[in-house]
Amino acid sequence: MPHVSSRPSITNAPVVIRTKDVSKRFVIRKDKSLKERIVNFGRSKRHKEDFWALRDVGFEITAGSSVGLVGANGSGKSTLLKVIGGIIQPNDGSVERRGRLAALLELGAGFHPDLTGRENVFLNGSILGLSQKQTADYFDSIVDFSEIGDFIDTQVKFYSSGMYVRLAFAIAVHVDPDILLVDEVLSVGDEPFQEKCMAKIREFQAEGRTIVFVSHSAAQVEDLCDRVVVLSHGKVVFDGGTQEGIAALRDSFGQ
């Protein structure tokens, strides 16, 4: 793939993410209210279902690499991304990481519909770890990138979904992360904007940022990643090069 070869060479790349025997159990309770719990007390086993979303996942990611996490639906890849991001804590094992982390898990998660675009930029910047001063410095560049223009002082509830996502992405890429976690968000927006996002991701790669990328699109993974981790039923079934990884992913669908 042409883009992979344009990656800068890093000698002695340090490990930035290290997961050790990470396991995550989900318990699904079918009785949510107090009444149901009292009624079902003592028979609670029947009203509980648990399964392992992740089982003994352990790997290391070195700085500057772009790793694709792939797998069938429900294989645990989004859970793994959340565990790496610290949003969910594992039942077992540990996750260590260093450097500034930004997660593009869902764009615009921190937007408040009643506030204006400008107010949301400052709020969202702060949520993603920028200081007020930094956001103020980047503000013009964020507005430029998002192509929102004069609508920046309009309440975001009046934005079209495209404007919403563009503004959110513009903030996220200005955070200056060392590690970027991306979950399926690159498939939003119109084609020119998608192109722009991809170009930004490549720029990030050239700057030696680490990218962990969850996607269902084999083409995108092939295009962006230099390493693929395939998950199946919460376990790592393959970890290695992109081409072999995609083949392993196809195999895992059959299981």
């Binding site: 800068p8 209210s33 500057g64 565990v83 610290g86 969910i88 408040h112 702060s126 200081s131």
Partner: protein, 316 residues
């Protein structure tokens, strides 16, 4: 020549690893760790408080006035219904100041607890997607409650000045103590209940009922002297002691002792001579103990929150 990428890699290799298991660190260590984390996000906390305040009255033309209209209406209701119709004002001098003082401090407590309880669920979108110290959400709810409290406090002080009843005495020192107690207990419960509410949605309804009950279990629309007298009449003085076990009752009493000048003086209403309020003799000691217990409670609640928050993202 070192590239930008190499520079970044070299910088990263000098950084220590952070592990995502934050539940460890012992009770006190974990508590301080969480406080440090919240302090590191104080700009965000500030923005979240502004967001709550701005968003609440964004499209209303009266805006912030609404945060005053509700307590003033309550004052009017209690003044007319309880003060005049039930004639409580005959035994309580400066009844309006008395009621408004009680409503103001109670409003702070009840708003922190009830909006705090909803704060984690209300920010589900953020909690599922971004890692932040989650205590920040109940704290932001408390922050906006403090803002509303400050406005009411200004009105209360202005009223005492206008009526010539500004409580210029050493008793004024009770006011910050009362506010501190209400903040500590309010935030402790807000943190605990916001986490429990994620797992058991009944909590939010339970809180509504409990707040109603606690409102009438504090000397807000009736004076402390009524409780003491009733206990004497039925010759069970333990009732008054039991009543005082509620930390918020102590705080309300302290606040009234500070803000309500007439409560500490002998006044006459018509022909009747009203003796000063029988403030609990050991009020100072009580307040000290209540404060210490409150801080312990806060630490315990925060530790429980910390244990529960690991699963917020899936349980919401």
């Amino acid at each position: 020549m070192t590239s930008k990428a190499q520079e970044r890699a070299d910088r990263l290799s000098t950084l220590p690893f952070q592990t995502s298991i934050s539940a460890g660190g012992g009770v006190m260590g974990g508590f301080w760790g969480s406080i440090k984390e919240v302090l590191a996000h104080r700009e965000l906390l500030d923005l979240l408080i502004r967001r709550e305040l701005k968003a609440r009255y964004k499209d209303s033309s009266l805006g912030f006035l609404w945060s005053l209209i509700k307590p003033l209406t309550m004052l009017l209701i209690y003044y007319v219904a309880i003060g005049q119709f039930l004639q409580a004002a005959r035994g309580i001098p400066d009844f309006a100041i008395f009621v408004f003082a009680g409503l103001t401090i109670w409003g702070l407590y009840s708003e922190i607890v009830s909006s705090g309880t909803m704060s984690i669920i209300g920010n589900a979108g953020l909690i599922k997607k971004v890692y932040l110290p989650r205590e920040i959400f109940p704290l932001a709810a408390a922050g906006s409650a403090i803002f509303n409290f400050a406005i009411q406090m200004i009105v209360l002080i202005a009223a005492t000045v206008v009526l010539g009843q500004f409580p210029l005495s050493w008793n004024l020192l009770y006011v910050p103590v009362a506010i501190l107690i209400v903040l500590v207990y309010g935030i402790a419960f807000a943190i605990l209940l916001s986490a429990l509410n994620v797992y058991l949605r009944d909590i939010q309804y339970l809180v509504e009922v409990a707040m109603l009950l606690l409102f009438w279990a504090s000397p807000i629309v009736y004076a402390w002297s009524y409780v003491v007298n009733s206990a004497v009449v039925v010759s069970h003085s333990w009732i008054a002691s039991l009543y005082l076990l509620n930390p918020v009752s102590s705080a309300v009493l302290a606040f009234q002792k500070g803000m309500w000048l007439a409560g500490s003086e002998t006044r006459t209403i018509g022909d009747a001579v009203i003796a000063p309020q029988p403030w609990p003799a050991d009020l100072d000691l009580r307040l000290l103990i209540v404060t210490i217990v409150g801080f312990i409670l806060l630490i315990v609640c925060q530790r429980v929150f910390q244990k529960l928050q690991g699963n917020f993202a899936q349980e919401i």
